[in-house]
Symmetry: C2
Subunit: 198 residues, 2 copies
Amino acid sequence: MQTSLLEKLIDELQCLPGVGPKTAQRMAYNLLQHKRQAGIDLAATLNKVMVEVGQCQSCRNYTENDLCDICLNPRREQQNLLCVVETVSDLAAVENSGQYSGRYFVLHGTLSPIDGIGPSELGLSELESLMSQGGVEEVILALNPSVEGEATSHYIADICKSNNVAITRIAHGIPVGGELEMVDTSTISHALMGRKQF
Amino acid sequence: MQTSLLEKLIDELQCLPGVGPKTAQRMAYNLLQHKRQAGIDLAATLNKVMVEVGQCQSCRNYTENDLCDICLNPRREQQNLLCVVETVSDLAAVENSGQYSGRYFVLHGTLSPIDGIGPSELGLSELESLMSQGGVEEVILALNPSVEGEATSHYIADICKSNNVAITRIAHGIPVGGELEMVDTSTISHALMGRKQF
Ligand SMILES: [Zn+2]
Ligand SMILES: [Zn+2]
């Protein structure tokens, strides 16, 4: 028997993280019953985001433009600080703390030779370019304290040293083994204020 | 500041049941990072379902065709049975039991005059047409034992009587494998009232 459109939707909704068959079914029925226009709008925006959103040419944050809103914002005051994060979720977590108004650099991962993720996949030469262009006085590492995160931190520390850029890491308050994006904003504020020489 | 496309997506994903800001953010980043094509496919299917899926002309199940797959399936054996359910989710639950191969009728709600939901909103004249056309020997009520569910059951029972169609209801009671102390009092009441000779 041919798959119905609705079965196809319930199947495809399961590409979303944390969505299994039951949840997908509930989502599909709920939209059909009450929210057709919201579903149509969501479909249009989802397509647009998947097609048009790429990485900021400066910091690798997600954006549909050449430069992201953070890089384009002239009112951010700590332009001499550059906070390096693993993911855009981590960037959002630091940003939501409200304690940081510097720049960011998003690695979109950590060094992992076994998975074929090396310095070029993480944009580390772009990161070095940012430093050699001047204006960056301090790099703040906000990576997770995993083995790969540590290895990546050391790699970036070496780049900083060759470019005479100070390097610190956020330290206090982040529970070891915890995920940065799950940490509350106050903990992140403390971690930023308590950053130490790396 | 103008809302970015990504912020718009995170906002619109929250039209899905059970999805708050954190989950929506995680979904959007996960698709962007790993599953662009899956996101594009999902957007296309979602739009198609919202625009094309309507109700089966016979049973009011969701379908993109005139008649749903269940109504069109000639291998279903209990064609003389008609199971009435409140929602398509309930239809799916009965169907997944694998114990039923008759027909269905979906009310998409229950009688609720205060909300403007009367017999015509529930398709009750279409349900009566099905009975008067013949071929339906027994209507099985699978409605929830709420006040509205009971009122609706009684209304449908009257239609059955005028059309000389037998009427039964599914048994409510303690779920198989369920712990008695975890079951709500209303279910326990129903289980007690529906007790059988041991
Ligand atoms: Zn940027
Ligand atoms: Zn049907």
